[in-house]
Symmetry: C2
Subunit: 148 residues, 2 copies
Amino acid sequence: MNIGQVSKATGVSLRMIRHYEGIGLMPSPDRRDNGYRDYPPRSIERLRFIANARDLGFSVDEISALLSLWDDRERASSEVKAIALGHAEDLARKSAALEAMRRTLLDLAEGCSGDARPDCPILAGLAETRQRPARELTAAKTKPRRVA
Amino acid sequence: MNIGQVSKATGVSLRMIRHYEGIGLMPSPDRRDNGYRDYPPRSIERLRFIANARDLGFSVDEISALLSLWDDRERASSEVKAIALGHAEDLARKSAALEAMRRTLLDLAEGCSGDARPDCPILAGLAETRQRPARELTAAKTKPRRVA
DNA sequence: ATGAACCCTGACATCATGTCAGGGTCAAGC
DNA sequence: GCTTGACCCTGACATGATGTCAGGGTTCAT
């Protein structure tokens, strides 16, 4: 199959199909004499897997892990479940963070008359002091980073 | 004030202070003879405003709008409130989207034994057909883009 | 006058994705 | 055989917020 057909079959853009190949999520397909990528039917399944996982917000690293588990017929389902549940927690955390922002915002907005008068506690609140120190001031010797 | 002092006073990194200047959120400060940026005290307030707004997830465009309203003593508080509430809705939508992903994931995980056995509905679910068409297939004549 | 601490600019990297450019290839119809 | 349109290839640039590194001045306290 040509890449265009694969794209239509999976709903993944040409760009991203090539991209996933570049970053190693998809194996490099054979090439025809003219240089065109020639995909086996299996590719479609794998691409769908990747696309679905992305739609669920999995990171590339997580997808990569899920794919190797998928390729491994013998792995314990507990491994898969652990990744899934871990990601679900991530999602919950992020969602909670957004909710917290929203609450703060609504609290600020509550005091705002929202009419033609100029005084507004929202702006006042935004201008208020903060003290979340800049990275540079704290990160000094803390983190080794670069693990992923 | 030198940029370093402003950074300490606001918790905004040097990098970002310069960046905000570059994208026009902060006015270019005067320069001393040696080329150092020389900030007036007002800058601190404005930077705090920007940083707080960012912490609340406002986009640069929104912040920019809020800043001009802030600069305008006469504007109606309703304008500010509209931006704030609009953003709060954005946050709600995003949060809901994350929650939806989480639910889907938990639904999938529910059927997974999570033990040593290899069969796993999570992987099966991820491999399932999808049909969210790629951008390229739909976007054809839809969007004029490039407004911001 | 030497070194630490500070400042400057510019460039590169991240991540997923789009888009554009410049150039081959293939198939169908004349 | 030649043209045309659809398809493919690679490579590069852009986005947004932020970090980091490099290479090079400045200031100030010892």
